[in-house]
Symmetry: C2
Subunit: 481 residues, 2 copies
């Protein structure tokens, strides 16, 4: 990119909202927990939708690659730029534009923090259901881009199931508005197509979210088991019973150790695995379901089962679970969070195989996962300063992904493909399928400037290369600091 | 199309599965209830997915327009060909390929009849939720193409909410497989994009449907009111109470008259409107909700409220409601079923305005609608033999649609845009939005051969015209028999 173009971009922004000095850019070089480091040319910080539209139109006119960024909690490198690209930081678009309790919806800007939606809706007895572990910092825009999940998606579905409408500026600079309060769409689900686009189609400006009544009542049980397999079998028994809990989560020994160290969580001693099951719903239903659940858990022979006796105990259980990712950071200088899906009936088998793969590679793997929907989150611990360990960890992560696909699952449950998994896309999709996806992407972004270098396996957007921009193959280069 | 091409197509099919004689084609010239008549060049009747793929590839190679057809119950002209196009009749692809009660899913071919899915799943205590009025004859493939709704979509959502995976042959001849048992998709919801495509992307070959446990218990109330407004107010009161019934339906006086004539339905005398509310769920919840519902209904001052006392009475209530569309045929030689959406809080206002519009045009309008989600189905009665009445009816239908959009609603709830409403698309979408939709369509069907002349307003698929085919503008021509 020429300095002249950057200067013109700078001129579009007021002082303090165009960053280009290395020390300013440093914070935007990395994301949640991946090892990727990519430096943008500049960071722009719009405050209004109009500014975002103007920025995208500028990028389109100049064929500049850009990436939208919220809180940067992506776990797949999804919020990183390509070398030299522009970061559009959306944190200041953080207004809840409308809250309509009667229609049970909220219209929010993309920079609104996930948990703030629920915080605002709570006074009306409503909440926003998708609850990624990072919900206290991650933004709705990022959730939409990656179709984020969370512990309670077992019952309520992913972000896509809760997005009613999207106003967005496409990579072409066109502004579109799709969906709305009604689920009865005209033609295909254009709005659903935008959800999960990983930033490759454009930037969401306004998002209409469905709000749900808060559950009247919860029943949360934490059960400790001597083996992971026993915990896995308990999950199968719960599912087979026909109960539909709000959440079913498992943490293994290493994850427990981390949670104990980080937030002083307390778990039954001598356990190799902890299962968390949460029922939620109307009082009468939870009361009836609770009896059945207690019987199933008792029959699964836990070391100990601890029902939460009050809201405080419930919060403590969830605090331990939700802190697990970052807590693992205390056990190891570096780690890779993997995200894969296996059919839930094969959960026990998957865990055994991950254990085998870990032993073979000599690295430790902590497992924290949404057991109810077969969504695994193995955390691979390594030390980046030991030569070769990063590569070893990545190889192990790849083996786990291949195992997921082979077992009939998926390379990602909720973290997205991003930069991390683009080379695994062909493991799941045929050349025809990927071709069609590329054509769909081109319908939104013919120049390939919106978050290039992500999702699709090899070099993409040849039109950019013709224009002499930085080769996009380089986008995936890992440069450890 | 040249005779030589048709001959080669005929040679692909065994005897009896290639139709081209006028008397054979007659059954394929019309659809559910619209006034459109379009004659195809030929009808092909594949029996396997492989045959469908071969047919689409032939059409692609020859640039032949085709349309997939199930039972032809489309209410928007969606299953009609363009003049001279090929109809691919899918009724023989009617196998339920897999039923997995543990995973709660069924894999079906597109020609499977909607109700047959539930009939097969019932022994496992499961059912397929979307229930269009035509569910005893319409096919799942058609439901997917038009993202069909039904009375119980208030609680359970549209077809798109129940399609887990789709294997399809695109208009390019490529075969893709998207989605699967897990809701955790990779990237955008490719499968959701295919649902509701109105046949413009390709042909579904295998559809994976989510099955839900059958409700343990129902409570169905039929309440008669002196005025439509009172019935509308009762709906508002039910919604405002926070109850989420499985269905909330309203029929007006003319619809009641039709149901009485057709299936001997019995309604409280002296009623201008009947409201049907159905609660469903676990026994304890329905029991608790029932009390609240009964109070709300009582407070809404009905002429009479009749709870169904057993399954038989419940079925009788639904038989009257589901027969209403075809029953109106007894009151009038011809009618147009309109399908629009208004915000449900403006239901009363919408009904008043429809009444005004009807009076002004001098035509009778019967109203049957999914009140819970604001989905109106005005049936406009006319006599096609009276010169000018068809045009008058169409003008009134257009006025009603414009009213829906103006009130913040939609031009279609569940019948689709098809041939009928393509000229209303610009009333809801901006030129940029329609442009982007066209580009998306082109990603699936660059030649514009899959169900051309539908959904998009003006002439499309110019590539076809270059090849000397029948001008696609003619596709929308109404030729009354």
């Amino acid at each position: 990119m020429t300095a002249a173009v950057l200067q013109r971009l700078a001129a579009m922004m007021p002082p303090g909202r165009f960053l280009e000095r290395p020390e300013q850019l440093a914070a935007y070089e990395s994301d949640g927990l991946t090892a990727f480091r990519v430096r943008p040319s500049a960071v722009v910080i719009p405050e209004t939708a109009e500014e975002v539209i103007a920025l995208v139109r500028f990028c389109h006119a100049e064929k500049l690659p850009f990436v939208a960024r919220g809180s940067g909690t992506s776990l797949s490198g999804g919020s990183l730029p390509v070398e030299g690209g522009i970061v559009v930081a959306l944190n200041r678009l953080n207004r809840i534009l409308r809250l309509d309790p009667a229609q049970r919806l909220a219209v929010v800007e993309p920079g609104v923090v996930n948990l703030d939606v629920t915080a605002t809706a709570m006074v009306h007895g409503l909440h926003y259901a998708p609850d990624p572990s990072s919900q206290s910092i991650c933004t709705v825009g990022g959730n939409v881009a990656f179709n984020s999940g969370g512990a309670h998606c077992l019952k309520y579905g992913m972000t896509a199931n809760h997005v009613l409408g999207i106003k967005a500026v496409l990579a072409t600079g066109e502004v579109v508005e799709w969906g709305g309060p009604s689920r009865e769409t005209v033609g295909p689900d254009w709005c659903g197509l935008f959800t999960g686009n990983e930033g490759l189609f454009g930037i969401a400006l306004e998002i209409t979210l469905q709000l749900l009544p808060r559950a009247e009542c919860y029943h949360t049980v934490l059960a400790g088991y001597r083996t992971l397999e026993q915990a896995g079998d308990a999950v199968s028994a719960v599912i087979a019973s026909g109960l539909l809990p709000g959440a079913i989560e498992i943490m293994d020994a290493l994850a427990l150790e981390a949670a104990v160290a980080a937030v002083h969580a307390e778990y039954p001693p001598g356990c190799e695995a902890v299962l968390i099951v949460e029922l939620e719903g109307p009082r009468e239903v939870v009361a009836a379901d609770r009896e059945r659940l207690d019987q199933i858990i008792a029959a699964s022979q836990p070391v100990e089962a601890r029902p939460a006796r009050d809201a405080e105990e419930r919060m403590a259980i969830w605090k331990g679970r939700k802190s697990a990712f970052s807590a693992v950071g205390r056990l190891s200088p570096d780690f890779i969070v993997q995200d894969g899906v296996v059919p839930r009936r094969r959960l026990g088998e998957a865990l055994r195989r991950i254990g085998d793969l870990a032993r073979k590679s000599g690295l430790r793997v902590a497992n924290v996962f949404h057991a109810g929907d077969g969504n695994l989150h193995p955390l691979i611990l390594f030390n980046g300063r030991v030569p070769g360990e990063l590569q070893q960890a990545e190889a192990l992560a790849g083996e786990i992904l291949k195992m997921c696909v082979e077992m009939g699952g998926s390379i990602t449950g909720e973290h997205g493909v991003g930069m991390e998994k683009r080379d695994y896309l062909p493991a799941m999709f045929s050349p025809d399928e990927i071709d069609c996806m590329r054509r769909l992407r081109a319908a939104f972004d013919p120049l390939g400037i919106a978050n290039p270098g992500k999702m699709f396996p090899s070099a993409e957007a040849p039109s950019l290369q013709h224009h002499g921009l930085h080769p996009l193959e380089k986008a995936g280069v890992i440069s450890r600091e």
